[in-house]
């Protein structure tokens, strides 16, 4: 499935839930757009979390809420405040990385 970015008209590959299927297509502008769709205006703190998530993703480390809480970037409470309603799920979508999943 493909969607077109409203900002620069680039075409993005996304799955049925709006997660980028190619994490390398991500740019900070695209993140702003996805966040706005989710009703979130990105602050520097948001961006710091997104960068942490992307770094970990490219290292191949499975992400958990606990890991974000131990990152030194935000506490778990702050993480919930930044990305309400399932913080890891929402932040992963904005960070352009796959949705946290189980094996089934």
């Amino acid at each position: 499935m493909q969607i077109q970015s409203a900002i620069d008209l680039t075409t993005l590959d996304v799955d049925s839930e709006g997660y980028l299927t190619d994490a390398t297509q991500w740019t900070p502008e695209i993140a702003r757009e996805i966040a706005r769709d989710a009703g979130i205006e990105l602050t520097d703190k948001h961006v710091e979390v997104l960068q942490f998530l992307r770094e970990r993703h490219f290292e191949g480390t499975p992400l958990t809420i606990r890991r974000v809480g131990k990152s030194g970037v935000v506490t778990i409470k702050e993480f919930y405040g930044l990305f309400p309603g399932g913080p890891l799920k929402v932040s992963s979508r904005i960070a352009g990385i796959p949705k946290p999943a189980s094996c089934v």
């Binding site: 958990t64 999943a101 189980s102 094996c103 089934v104």
Partner: protein
């Protein structure tokens, strides 16, 4: 004489030790396993203990008995590894030197990581079933429990044997039905993920089972604490789930010795940064990692350790011979899912391919069916116990290829 040292005599460590003992020249290499326990535990059997299907005694054998004769077993606690000195320090201070080290120290539940879980409720109204102690205590509680709110609770999304809590919920449904009290039990499945099933094809096949069995799912629930007084799970977003009986999958962490040795990854879970294809430690050339101790983005499960053992054996031999590491691990995992009422499903997947429907290991002939509930799959799970003790641990070949095969899988299958 050179030394191959293996930390951990669980499923992964035992397979690696037996395979490498056969491959290495006995005059040039000694093989030593260090484990803190002298007992080897058949972990897949833990699921059956709470329901009285397996007796706890059935799950254990002396660790010595599952290791080849030419392997030395040291039963001791390891304090730390000194990877820059090529040696391990035991808790009593004794050093053990190595030429090649394999870390197979696994992962374990840590109930103390969730405030209130490991308190007055523990083993009274809150249990794990990933330890013999927990599974046995839960069996005794279930035998006399006359109903109420049973909550299966995942403290985190990365833990050992990811299908086990689903299986527990399915088997609990059958168990209470058999006891004639199913109508007096509410079963709720609480997960930090977006649902009990998150992979599209597996979700489509298995998702209906929760409804069918009347198991409620509470998704996106990340517990901050257990309120022991009110017997309630409290999430970071203030949502609450009350329970009468809690079956928890606590936060899982790797061994303390990994953290103490400075070999864990950047956070605090004590998993060793491992090359996802060669299985060598990312930080030390003569250290390899296998099983639940790795930080790899695949399931923590015995089947994964089994497929890794093949790759790890080849690469350890390459390293010893001074050759480049060649073997490549693909993240292959293969798991039965007990679905209750004498049936089971089966899944087969790797780093890149989600569980798909089809036949296993052979197209049409099967005899197993992927992502389908059948009696044959259940018999396969029961038969696995013998295979584990007699074939798998000794590292003998099984009729399953190390690399995941697309043979028999159906990509285009419409959800049933």
């Amino acid at each position: 004489m050179q030394t191959l040292l293996i930390l951990g005599g669980g499923t992964a460590g035992t397979m690696a030790a037996n395979k490498l003992r056969r491959e290495l020249d006995p005059d040039a290499w000694s093989v030593t396993v260090i484990d803190k326990s002298e007992t080897h535990l058949y972990q897949p059997g833990l699921l059956f203990v709470p329901f009285g299907v397996y007796e706890p005694e059935r799950l254990t054998r002396p660790g010595r008995d599952v290791l080849d004769g030419g392997i030395e077993l040291i039963v001791a606690e390891v304090a730390e590894v000194e990877p820059n000195k090529d040696r391990v320090l035991l808790a009593d201070g004794r050093p053990v030197a190595y030429d090649v080290l394999i870390v197979a120290t696994g992962t374990a539940p840590r109930p103390a990581e969730t405030p209130g879980l490991d308190g007055p409720l523990w083993y009274r109204d809150a249990f794990d079933f990933y330890t013999l102690e927990g599974a046995t205590a839960l069996r005794d509680r279930l035998a006399t429990w006359d109903g109420g709110r049973l909550v299966v609770f995942l403290a985190e999304s990365v833990f050992k044997c990811p299908v086990a809590p689903l299986e527990f919920a399915f088997l609990a449904d059958s168990f209470f039905e058999a006891r004639g009290i199913r109508d007096r039990v509410e079963i709720t499945y609480v997960t930090p993920l977006s649902g009990a099933f998150t992979k599209p094809k597996a979700g489509a096949f298995l998702g209906g089972l929760m409804d069918e069995k009347g198991i409620a799912v509470v998704p996106d629930f990340y517990a901050e604490r257990v309120d022991a007084e009110r017997k309630t799970l409290v999430a970071y977003d203030e949502r609450e789930v009350p329970f009468d009986l809690l079956v928890a999958v606590p936060v899982n962490m790797g061994a303390d010795l990994v953290g103490a040795s400075g070999m864990g990854d950047a956070d605090d879970l004590n998993y060793v940064p491992t090359d996802r294809h060669t299985l060598r430690s990312r930080d030390h050339d003569n250290v390899f990692v296998i099983g639940d101790a790795t930080n790899l983005p695949t399931s923590k499960a015995g089947s994964v350790a089994h497929f890794e053992a093949e790759i790890l054996t080849e690469n350890v031999l390459h390293w010893i011979a001074g050759e480049p590491l060649a073997a490549e691990f693909d993240g292959h995992a293969n798991c039965f899912i007990e679905t209750g009422h004498g049936k089971a499903a089966l899944i087969d997947f790797n780093y890149d391919t989600e569980p798909l429907p089809g036949d296993f290991p052979l197209p049409v002939l099967g005899p197993m069916r992927l992502l389908k509930e059948t009696r044959t799959n259940h018999l396969g799970k029961l038969a696995f116990e013998w295979i584990y003790w007699h074939r798998l641990l000794s590292g003998k070949p099984l009729p399953v290829s190390t690399e995941m095969s697309m043979l028999g899988k159906r990509l285009d299958a419409a959800p049933a």
